[in-house]
Structure formats: structure tokens, C-alpha cells
Subunit: 219 residues, 2 copies
């Protein structure tokens, strides 16, 4: 019964993910699923990224949190349209939550949709949202051993941002150990060393995002 | 059906938690369930705490991780008996995992058992392990907004360690905001400002741990 239920849950998720994927395709929108630990800097990365994209691209954000609308308020101040999802305790977003939130977003008026997942290095990796790209934001202060201990999220990401690089000199974290594990787990991911706080390294990340955009719209 | 299954799962967990609680009581062992985000410094806190307790108390550790035995190896080097649980992907420990692991630990030869949960600010808070105390380790680099966004773990903890205090001057984190949220969510928790890296503030935490120890053993 347990397995059966899981199949139902995952089956329903896959169905909504497919619907979302089709909605993004029809609207010509690039959707990115931003994942990472609590406090890895996902919101800060968005706050720093949106102003770099805003002159040329129309950016929307879906904010996923268990509680509060603090992140949505920050994103609004950064200048993007934002829809908040409160999961009420769930440790990840799922595709149906996104499908429901999309009703509040006129997708065809946007080029880019960032979906900021719940802060969690485990659960979000299990749920396809229908986004075109998955991105992991990792705070260097989390330590060099996390890729080996929580490999799934890193393995399935097309881009990995190592954030808070400005703090590296004040820690004992050995970046080479992190790189070794990343090479083993996902050598193909685009890797960016950034600091959302100082803005360092963000140009490369923004270039990567822009390069992922779909071609001219259909229809 | 979904609710029924959850009741079964939680019912079974409560049953094993009660068994564990009874085993700890019989052995006169203080068990502490250490929770917190990935990279909040749970293992580092244990590495720094064990040598402070070892002269007077016999300390055992159960290490919970999705994968790898890296933390267990660190704890062994710190001088405590350790049993590793690999959850194989699950985002939290449950009481049955602890019950099974206790078969490998001669409980009555220990005074203290630290149970290091999976790095996750959400899931572990939902599962009673039967431990006598719950402790949240929070890295100051996770940001001042996390208590309001993930209140459950903080609310149910008897002690909260704000770790990585040595990094505070290098961040924009406002400690007063964190204190405000903690006062609202759990004003009664014992609060310790520490740095596992420098050792600062650990005496108060160790004194608190010792004060929680049960009286002379029964039987």
C-alpha cells in the first residue's frame, strides 16, 4: 500500500510537471528550479540577478516557503513580478503547487521564471516541477563534504552556484575537496563561484541563464 | 487513505520512540537529538563538545546521514563510540532506525548519547526519536530570517546553539532580528552563542548538557 500510494503521488506529480512544461513551452518561457539548503542564498542570488536581467528580459519569480512572505517581499523590491507559495510545512514544492500558482502569472508576458524552492538539500530533488533547468545554490559555509552526503540534488542540476565566496578566507573549507566531489557526482554541470553579497562572479551565471533561453516564440 | 497511512507511520514511530525512551530511562542515559540545516555545524559541535565531556562522562554518538560515513569517522577521531545510520535518501531519522542502532550500543556503559540527525531544517522536527532533549544547531551564516520561516524545529527544542559566531562580523546578519523571532517562537529554550571552530561559548552549552543528566541509576 505504501508503494502504491507513492506511485500515485509521484504519478500525479509527473502529470502536473508535464502540464507545466507544456505551458512554459507554449509561452516561450525559460523556467529554472532553484534549490539549496536553508540559508544557501537562493533569495540573495535572485535579488542580485534580477537587476542584471531586467533591462533586457521580463522576469517572474515563484517563491516557495513553508511560512512567511519575507522572500516575496524581497523579490518585489528587486523589481520582479512574484507569486508566493506557502507549503504550510511541506519540505518541497511539487508540480501541482506550481500549476496552481501559474494561474496568477500571465506567462506570455515573461521571458524567464525563477522558481525558488523550499530551503532543503534533500526533498526538492525528488520532485520534478516541469522547469527547463534545475539549479543548486550552495553556500560555501555549509562545508566541503555536502556534495558526497547529499548527492542527488547536485547530480540532477544543470548549473551549480557556489555562493558566499567572500566568506571563504574566514573558514576552514577546502574548495578543492568540494571540486573533487562535484567532479565525481556531476562533472557536466556549469559551475559558478559567486558572492551574492558582493556581486562577484554573477556575470558568468547571468550569461549562462541567457544562453538557456528558448528561441523566438511560436504561434 | 493518505491520512490513514500517515497515522500508521506516525503511530509506529511513536511506539518505537516510547521503546527508546524506556531503554534510555532503564540505562540512565541522557539522549539528545541534534538537529539543524546541512552545514549548520552539528558534527563540529560534537567534535568540540566530546573532549570537554570525556574526562567525566562516557559519551556515545549515533550519526544519521543519507550517505557516507564521513561524520562517523570524525566522531571516532574525537574519541566517542559511534554508530552510523545511513538513511539511503530519507530526509530524517525515525525512532525505528534508532531502536535498531541501539542493538549495537551497550547503553548501560554510557552516560550520554548524542543523536546527530540528517541535515535538514524541516523533516527531522516531525519525528520523535525518544530522546530526552531536542537541540537545534543553527549556523549564523544561514541568515536572520530562518526562525520565522522554519519555526517548528526551533519551537520544540530545549536548547538552541547559534553557531559560527566567529563569522558574524563578516556577514550582514543582524543578530537582534534572530533574537526577536526566537523570543516569539520559543522564549524558554536555553540559548547559546558559540563557535565550534574557535571553541567560544562552549562551556555554557556543556554545563547545560551536564545539568540535564538524570540522577543516580536505578536498579
Amino acid at each position: 500500500m505504501k508503494v502504491h500510494l507513492m506511485q500515485n503521488v509521484m504519478g500525479a506529480n509527473a502529470e502536473y510537471a508535464a502540464r507545466n512544461r507544456e505551458l512554459f513551452r507554449q509561452a516561450g518561457v525559460l523556467a529554472l528550479n532553484l534549490m539549496g539548503s536553508p540559508g544557501s542564498g537562493k533569495t540573495a542570488i535572485l535579488e542580485a540577478t534580477i537587476p542584471l536581467l531586467a533591462p533586457n528580459y521580463r522576469v517572474a519569480v515563484i517563491e516557495g516557503d513553508l511560512f512567511t512572505t519575507r522572500d516575496a517581499a524581497r523579490i518585489e523590491r528587486a523589481g520582479a513580478e512574484v507569486v508566493q507559495i506557502n507549503t504550510g510545512g511541506s519540505c518541497h514544492l511539487n508540480a501541482k503547487m506550481i500549476y496552481t500558482a501559474l494561474a496568477d502569472l500571465p506567462l506570455d508576458t515573461f521571458d524567464l521564471l525563477f522558481i525558488e524552492n523550499v530551503g532543503n538539500l534533500v526533498c526538492p530533488a525528488g520532485f520534478d516541477l516541469g522547469a527547463g533547468r534545475r539549479v543548486t545554490v550552495f553556500g560555501i559555509t555549509e562545508g566541503a563534504d555536502k556534495v558526497a552526503k547529499y548527492p542527488k540534488m547536485f547530480r540532477q542540476s544543470q548549473a551549480i552556484l557556489i555562493n558566499k565566496l567572500d566568506l571563504l578566507p574566514h573558514t576552514d573549507v577546502e574548495l578543492t575537496l568540494l571540486h573533487q566531489d562535484l567532479s565525481a557526482v556531476n562533472p557536466e554541470a556549469a559551475l559558478f563561484h559567486v558572492s551574492a553579497r558582493t556581486g562577484a562572479g554573477l556575470e558568468g551565471w547571468v550569461r549562462w541563464v541567457v544562453a538557456q533561453l528558448p528561441g523566438p516564440r511560436e504561434g
